[in-house]
Homo-oligomer: 221 residues x 2
Amino acid sequence: MIVINNNALLKEYCEKYDINSHFSNWEALTKKLVHYEKGEIIAFYGDQANKLFFLVKGTIKFCCFTDDYEEYFFFDATNEGLFGEVEYVMNIPLITQSEVIEDCHCIVIPVKENRKLLDNDLKFQVFLTTILAKKYNDMRNLCMNAESYPLEIRLAKYLIADKNSSKISDLTQIAKTIKCSYRQLLRTIKQFVENGWIEHLPQKGKYKIKDRDALEEVAKR
Amino acid sequence: MIVINNNALLKEYCEKYDINSHFSNWEALTKKLVHYEKGEIIAFYGDQANKLFFLVKGTIKFCCFTDDYEEYFFFDATNEGLFGEVEYVMNIPLITQSEVIEDCHCIVIPVKENRKLLDNDLKFQVFLTTILAKKYNDMRNLCMNAESYPLEIRLAKYLIADKNSSKISDLTQIAKTIKCSYRQLLRTIKQFVENGWIEHLPQKGKYKIKDRDALEEVAKR
């Protein structure tokens, strides 16, 4: 992690994503712009939580762990860019592990220094309820529909979930997440390649999305 | 639904559950105490949402529906008694269907008449973030762990989820919810009966919890 001392850039990001509109007094908050490098773990699952952050550039992979310590991948694309809010509200250790997939810029808001301001900011609390209600509802739908969809549709939904990346790797993880065996996954991936929706890269076990529109169509079925 | 015109009773419930502590100006809100009869559908899935309510007596079963209209049962026991908040925040039609299992008393807060007060109430918004973050986190855990537990544990968790009821019925529904076949469920139920944890009632397909402590132990495994 490197702190970027560039107020102009921070301001530019805020304007681009309209971040200050979620706070009554954005200027009064202590915050910093930071850079995370590809491969860096931003925070470990179970660590003490101490920041809210807005992802303004790059890609982060969020993982959680089941009670028996199996890793469970999900990319949270619906969060309007704010992360760490569940931990802030509940005052609990980190419920996800965050790893940098592509170099990132984040606006980090340390919770401790800002808690009083945040807790008393109606605008921010209303913003939080919106984010949390949506996250809850999305998770509920995911949970309910997880197995009522055929594997083909589950895989398509999974592949298009991350709008910022076309790369497909770590098949073991994908199989776990969409609840199928490795063998079943390979069969479906082979089918997707034959359909021209994804292509096999030279590296073993790596693929790339070729036809996102086709996958979006499958996911809608 | 019958409106109970009894301000003393309404006040009694508020004090018992400390409901007014979640609002800056509870007195200013329009609300009413209502009675719902066993078997009554409080609201249909997909209907327009127009109320927040606190369940202060009785039992309500909440159902949702998967995208292919399969009913999916869950009893939301973690909601601190407030319901309708996801719909209020997101301004969407009802995401659950609510059916009265035991005669209920609810304090109903119509959203339309109160929206301005609610939207501008910091205390209430902070209360909402707490509820929503907890609901999200519980749902996430449920979703992640759904299948990593053996059936025995899933059934035990399911049976003890509703602290207010010891009755077990609608096995088809239970099988769907805990993701197993009807045959697998019957086998596990038979085992539970033999262990003395539940007992078969005279009616076909009806059971009753006999040893809640034992089930709690199994659920913790």
